[in-house]
Subunit: 401 residues, 4 copies
Amino acid sequence: MDYVNGPGRNHLFVPGPVNIPDQVIRAMSRNNEDYRSPAIPALTKTLLEDVKKIFKTTSGTPFLFPTTGTGAWESALTNTLSPGDRIVSFLIGQFSLLWIDQQQRLNFNVDVVESEWGQGANLDVLASKLADDKAHTIKAICIVHNETATGVTNNLATVRKILDHYQHPALLLVDGVSSICALDFRMDDWGVDVALTGSQKALSLPTGIGIVCASPRAIEASKSAKSVRVFFDWKDYLKFYKMGTYWPYTPSIQLLYGLRAALDLLFEEGLDNVIVRHNRLATATRLAVEAWGLKNCTQKEEWYSDTVTAVVVPAYIDSSEIVRRAWKRYNLSLGLGLNKVAGKVFRIGHLGNLNELQLLGCLGGVEMVLKDVGYPVKLGSGVAAASAYLQNTTPFIPSRI
Amino acid sequence: MDYVNGPGRNHLFVPGPVNIPDQVIRAMSRNNEDYRSPAIPALTKTLLEDVKKIFKTTSGTPFLFPTTGTGAWESALTNTLSPGDRIVSFLIGQFSLLWIDQQQRLNFNVDVVESEWGQGANLDVLASKLADDKAHTIKAICIVHNETATGVTNNLATVRKILDHYQHPALLLVDGVSSICALDFRMDDWGVDVALTGSQKALSLPTGIGIVCASPRAIEASKSAKSVRVFFDWKDYLKFYKMGTYWPYTPSIQLLYGLRAALDLLFEEGLDNVIVRHNRLATATRLAVEAWGLKNCTQKEEWYSDTVTAVVVPAYIDSSEIVRRAWKRYNLSLGLGLNKVAGKVFRIGHLGNLNELQLLGCLGGVEMVLKDVGYPVKLGSGVAAASAYLQNTTPFIPSRI
Amino acid sequence: MDYVNGPGRNHLFVPGPVNIPDQVIRAMSRNNEDYRSPAIPALTKTLLEDVKKIFKTTSGTPFLFPTTGTGAWESALTNTLSPGDRIVSFLIGQFSLLWIDQQQRLNFNVDVVESEWGQGANLDVLASKLADDKAHTIKAICIVHNETATGVTNNLATVRKILDHYQHPALLLVDGVSSICALDFRMDDWGVDVALTGSQKALSLPTGIGIVCASPRAIEASKSAKSVRVFFDWKDYLKFYKMGTYWPYTPSIQLLYGLRAALDLLFEEGLDNVIVRHNRLATATRLAVEAWGLKNCTQKEEWYSDTVTAVVVPAYIDSSEIVRRAWKRYNLSLGLGLNKVAGKVFRIGHLGNLNELQLLGCLGGVEMVLKDVGYPVKLGSGVAAASAYLQNTTPFIPSRI
Amino acid sequence: MDYVNGPGRNHLFVPGPVNIPDQVIRAMSRNNEDYRSPAIPALTKTLLEDVKKIFKTTSGTPFLFPTTGTGAWESALTNTLSPGDRIVSFLIGQFSLLWIDQQQRLNFNVDVVESEWGQGANLDVLASKLADDKAHTIKAICIVHNETATGVTNNLATVRKILDHYQHPALLLVDGVSSICALDFRMDDWGVDVALTGSQKALSLPTGIGIVCASPRAIEASKSAKSVRVFFDWKDYLKFYKMGTYWPYTPSIQLLYGLRAALDLLFEEGLDNVIVRHNRLATATRLAVEAWGLKNCTQKEEWYSDTVTAVVVPAYIDSSEIVRRAWKRYNLSLGLGLNKVAGKVFRIGHLGNLNELQLLGCLGGVEMVLKDVGYPVKLGSGVAAASAYLQNTTPFIPSRI
């Protein structure tokens, strides 16, 4: 009946789905309820209000779709654009690739701006495209804030600056799936028009809510966007928001209570502290990788991701074998290399509900696996590098008795 | 933090989401896992195989979409049809109405066959439309097996007979949301091309899986269907089925384990016994309604639904007040009357994980509420009628020690 | 793996262990913790303070023993008495019998005052014994507040009056296992010296905490009591209370969090409201028994118990068969008749986390079982009587949205 | 509401209560049940049969007391001995000290054989006492298999040899609280008369079951033992065993299901594999301690405990500060030094449901704490030593897919 065997805990270090806090698991361990009773709308109202905080927006309108990140992508696109609309989209890894595939299948006219995997979005090309587009034929810029396949974080503030520089009205649509609640993200400051994430990422919930947040401009655009949509249509939600019942179709009661608990925990820790914690654990991970003598797939420090580190292995090692052994031998779940970097990188997800000692356990495990597969790692070296950094930076937690 | 207050249990008798067995709640109370490990595909394989049994199909291909019934509708339509395709669709209540709305918004050419709410689908009109359609311009018949708003069950065997009689090749798309796992449903025998349900209905899980099952003809149709789709596209699933990894995007780990537990329980009880149990509880409910001197919204016995009973209240009573009081005073969740029957009916959902004494508690509660709102009910009368029937028909459960 | 089979919920109406609120089950669904960390003492401190409220004492000292009611009995006796001490003890049913058996095995000199089962403690005998005991050879009065086997509640206020009348210094030791948190209980007002209960009764927790509360006189007595004791010794606890670490040996972390949640729920409802609710459900039960034409085992109204009703069946019926069928056929758990009333009574426990509709379900079930075993019950009659009363008395719950 | 704060998991490395497997937490997350229904005896029967396996006995009789280890001690002593009986008992640390305190308070005549803390039981003294005791005045030998305070494991096989050598009939009573299910323990082979453990130790359950197992000789002795006992009396259990209802008073339903799940997991892994795993993790821990340049409190290798390691800190460090910081800064729970070794040692519990990477996380944490408090540890050194050993010895787990 149970497929994760062996004694002790599973060490979950894929970049999603991530570890769920026990408080959230408890909050979700419950029977169904009538979502048309007064209780669920009252709960939903608090969620819609509070979820805006994780996007750092006051003017945005959030939607909690019963879907995944892929569905959230579709909702972002189909509500704001019409078939044939020209969009600029950056291909820098597997997830941006998949989003572009979706954009094309939804019949948008996509200018794909490709970078080598391991690099960030080429914003020079963006600038030149905007410069050329006096007629404003470009309707939207689609960008993945954090490419989960390569551990690359794009600079959204710069994207906004470029758009502003050219006074270009294109909508800015951002995939924040592996960034929001973990990396610095500022919807209002950066003029993001649609931002989206999935519950199973830094929010540390099960999969099942695709959270989409729309700026006033995006809401306005949705009124004339001609893409066919029903399930993902914002219009139905907006209608039920007005009625105060909120749900055009049945939500997951469990995920609503889970989201409430997850937000409570995030706010208790403090969103800014959460972001600092992610940076601290990510830095420690990168120091370990360096100590092992391995390379970060991310080519420049400016793109380093604080939620996932893709580690390049020597050519004589198959990175998939590392992932396989980690799981089978040490109950450690690492991320595979995907597509172009399959076999070449393995990924350590360090996002969501994690702390220092969990990370050290993971790093110690990776070292053993590296040795298992024949890489001449010095055992303890990564842990030493990581813990030297962590020991200096880990705060005392005042709320702890 | 908790919005359902008051001592004791909530008595959940809405026609979905329904009561989840404790075993299933337990099975779902867990952390996330890496869905790319060998464990999740191994689990998924058993689910895809076993879920076919609830559709009574051996040739069908099931899809477990991370969505709701509304999403499952969209998947059924967009994978089999092209914009402009003519379809015949039956409007008999709120849920068939919503599906038709979706069909129209997805740009199909819908022949709406309307019945009075409380009646079943008008199959005479179907017959005449098929008789007239020598050119086979009708591409699909869309029908709700059980209309949850009015408690009306349509006769799918007859639909198939009519199609066969006219040797009409139209696809038969069936919403089984409030029927599958509770009413007799036979995908293969009745030549259903797409059948669908939602996890929060008779499967007795949380909301979050839209289960769509496609016949070989439907799979064939999907290859040429031109409706735009990505998230709901079967093609991506079929590709991952072949690869043996099953998931084009992140599933809910918890729902997969929950579905496993739910199927195990259904098979342990025996799917046929489950259907008999639903009939027994539904019959008892109808006898209670009769004893109260109230009318079933369903106009003829042939359409009586074994999953939900819509009860018509006298004109001087607002049925919404019954639902409100039941919840507020007795922690009893009943279904509202929707749209045309708002204020006129309340609904008792008797599907999913329920037994005799839970139903008697509900009926006793309804009696008190009826008295609360001024209806001259004889307290105990409905319980008497229901229990007289149940006492004769409830089986000894052999598996119980 | 699971031994309670069949669809739907188990209907738990034994007089303990009782139904646990979902909030409490959730609060307990957790890993172990170090009980020597600062967190557990901080939690324990709140529990010891708040648990006094359920005894209605401000001067008492509570002990949370990792044991059952039987262990709590032993702790009450051995900490306050010395071998050979004379005590007066009332035998009115199986549980007072078992306590007396324990008293005798612990080598006390027990004056057993026996009543017919179904009657309360004979307080006239108490008065005459006290009157005779000028030398104060009687060291303690032991009395069960509520005899769970027969559904008899003794009048503790009268016991105190008699003691005061004779100015007798005997300690008053009270078994409140099936009364505290459900019946009116006033430790300070009634001059109770040791009161005790078990977590699995009206507190609605799992079995595992025997709660003993000692008056200042009892604490004083414990300093000279010569009964041998270690595990149940108050001295060890008092020592750790002073140190602020509270636990001389490992407590159940889960039960501590569960007790916290259980107390929070009780206080949220209001302890007085809880007591009124118990009276209301008990009255409804008694009205149903009357409507069935059956007799209450409790011989006079003054002794009626608001936590359990023992129902006498006609001589031609074996009450054990009723209990067996209820469980096997309807998933309804009723209490057996014990010892002298075995086969003659069955018991309906109506204590703890329960509401009106749960009770109606139970009563409807009992009616069906009565018919099953050949008693000429009029189905619905008990439910009618109970619901007529409940419909008039059930309050609107203001905290519910 | 929740007192263990901070993000991520608590790292629980006290020598009890220990980490509970998720499967066990799930199995226990349930409502109460009637323990007099047929289901609970059926479950209990399997537990009593299977629990014998963890004692490696076929002839023993197990008792599942709703109590802690302290209560289990009391049950072992009072059922087999009479007041004034002479016993030989070994004082080697805090827990043997507490047991001796209990023995003395229960009025036995205790020959205390003391060793320096950090040493094992002085078996030479045992030999000489037995040699001198021609009259067989010694009624029992009481010995702690594994002293949790100092991490010392006594050699029970040698104890048996000495007893046999002198053909001495004294009963052999063994505290296996921190050994059974983790260390090699052979009740039948070693002629142990009473062995006992607590659920919260290597069985990896919550606190609440004191498991006592009695040899036929011990059962025989219980018939004439004159120690006063009621709650802890084996006689009541034996009576209910014969009746097939098993429980003289209410057990914890949750712990019974939890014990079932815990035993299932142990047997799935294989009890011998579990013991090997404990040895492997313990060896790794000792290698880390050595690498840190710190001393094991246990003075000779023959006494090394595979369930807990007590680490001696330099005189200029207060070991309590290490424990305090570990908890407050890194969410790591370590064991305090107790009594004579307070401030001098901290303890790493490595028993129960644990795996390699959890241990590495702990060791990495200890290193950081050591540095925090000013000990010149080389970060990573302990992890390096431990992982070098683990990487060579960790088995592939065949049951894992």
